[in-house]
């Protein structure tokens, strides 16, 4: 695992019925690098991120994540990859703290309560730890889902439109979280419409159009 590229994808494709959401994407990203993923809505960014996270299998093509085969070793891939999407994976009836404790325990994180509290503080939600998520605004939910991502300490972090629903303060905070991850050596793939922020954070760029790699 030590020198394997974070992502090594060849001809990755995914179809939904008649439509090829992804068509022959080839991509190589070394550990520690950051990739900006751009493209219009429906161009395949979300599908690509979900395939790389091991959430959906590719229809054809192959990929390896840190040397692990995406098709055959999905469980191990999922252990190392964190995905932040629009769906925040939260339980409305549980509190912020509980929404972190549940995945923490399922991950086997040592001292789950302490870690959950620390992460809540990091994203600025420590005052609302006991409040039910149902009362949270969209921005607060986003921050909570960032905390959930960080719980896992992923070696590869995938962000699908992380700046959506955030106010300028929230955007700044998200940027600093990403920078921290990068400094710690995490490989990052960032899909966003905010090209400026994206380019300031990432060294490489992949533009998608109609599921294919294209010129920006």
């Amino acid at each position: 695992m030590s020198t394997a590229p974070a992502i090594d994808a060849v001809d990755l494709s995914r179809r939904y019925g008649m439509r090829w959401a992804l068509a022959r994407i080839s991509l190589r990203l070394d550990q520690g690098q950051s990739l900006l993923l751009t493209g219009h809505n429906g161009s395949g960014k979300t599908t690509l991120l979900r395939v790389l996270a091991g959430a959906v299998p590719a229809s054809t093509g192959r990929a390896s994540i840190f040397g692990l085969d995406l098709a055959k070793q999905r469980f191990e891939v999922r252990q190392r990859v964190g995905l932040l999407t629009h769906a925040n994976a939260l339980y409305e009836d549980l509190s912020a703290q509980e929404n972190l404790l549940v995945p923490a325990r399922l991950l086997g994180v040592p001292q789950p309560s302490a870690r959950a509290a620390a992460l809540l503080a990091k994203v600025g939600l420590e005052g609302r730890a006991k409040d039910s998520v149902r009362q949270f605004s969209a921005g607060m939910r986003k921050r909570l889902s960032i905390a959930r991502l960080l719980l896992k300490n992923p070696a590869l972090a995938l962000f699908d439109e992380p700046f959506g629903e955030l106010d300028p303060g929230g955007i700044e905070q998200m940027e600093s979280v990403i920078r921290e991850l990068q400094q710690a050596g995490t490989t990052v793939v960032l899909a966003t419409h905010l090209i400026e922020q994206g380019q300031s954070l990432c060294s490489r760029r992949l533009h998608l159009s109609g599921g294919r790699a294209a010129q920006a």
């Binding site: 179809r15 939904y16 019925g17 080839s26 990739l35 054809t60 790699a213 010129q215």
Partner: protein
């Protein structure tokens, strides 16, 4: 996937000593299959007509049950075909989940389920018609009648569920799961309804058999078998055509020119 069929081809090429021979054999097989597909109804329907004459005119009336018992010669084969198609659906469902998920297998499962429903409904209706003069009622909670009806409802529900799933791949997978559960259910329903009725006297099949009965039943069973096989085949081809309209071919078109990977 390309290499798998490639390996198979190489193996058969060696077996038949050369590419041209392999092509000839494949062509012959295809022609045989086409002929079989036409032969099934061409043989089956006349057989059924003759079998109808056998059942209605030739075979002597059953001693205990009288004239209505002639329905048995259609009812029994119908139910047998239903069970056969049920097994087909079960097998295809397992194959889809355990082996490579192929839409052909899903098409076969769909064909099996529908034809199972068709013959099952025919069987239940005929059985009901037979029951009226024999037992005086159309329905009497007879274990077999009840469990088959429950099974048909289960399969009809499964077909309904298929309608509400647009993505063909997900629909195939869900149908396979439903098919396995439906088969398990059929077994459990059979046992439970049998015990449910354990206290009631149940009329069952004729006690004595004689050669004419056996011949007529066997003839009609084969007629039903050919017709059922033809139905399944035609339904399978229809399902494949429908899939082709819903699903892109297995490989995406090649990339036009090099894109923008930074």
């Amino acid at each position: 996937m390309g290499t798998e069929t490639g390996n198979a081809r190489k193996f058969f090429e060696e077996l038949f000593q050369g590419r041209e021979n392999l092509e000839k054999v494949l062509k012959l097989l295809r022609q045989l299959l086409k002929a079989l597909r036409i032969a099934l109804p061409v043989i089956g329907f006349p057989m059924l007509a003759f079998g109808g004459w056998l059942a209605l005119a030739w075979v002597p009336a059953e001693r205990d049950m009288g004239a209505p018992s002639r329905i048995m010669y259609a009812h029994v084969p119908a139910v047998w075909m239903m069970f056969l198609c049920c097994v087909l659906n079960f097998g295809a469902s397992i194959w889809y989940l355990a082996g490579k998920p192929s839409l052909k297998v899903d098409a076969m499962a769909e064909a099996g389920a529908e034809v199972c429903l068709v013959f099952g409904v025919i069987g239940v209706l005929l059985g009901s018609i037979w029951a009226r003069p024999t037992w005086g009622v159309y329905w009497n909670w007879d274990p077999r009648l009840t469990s088959v009806t429950v099974m048909l409802v289960t399969y009809a529900a499964m077909m309904a569920a298929r309608r509400f799933e647009e993505d063909p791949d997900r629909r195939a997978r869900v149908s396979a799961v439903l098919g396995i559960l439906a088969a398990a259910s059929a077994v459990l329903v059979w046992f439970s309804v049998k015990w449910f009725n354990s206290l009631h006297q149940v009329q069952s099949s004729p006690k004595t058999t004689y050669p004419e009965l056996v011949v007529t039943l066997r003839w009609n069973s084969f007629a039903f078998l050919f017709i059922a096989a033809w139905f399944v085949w035609e339904r399978y081809e229809l399902a494949l055509k429908a899939r082709a309209g819903e699903v892109a071919p297995p490989e995406p078109p090649p990339a036009p020119a090099e894109g923008g990977v930074a």
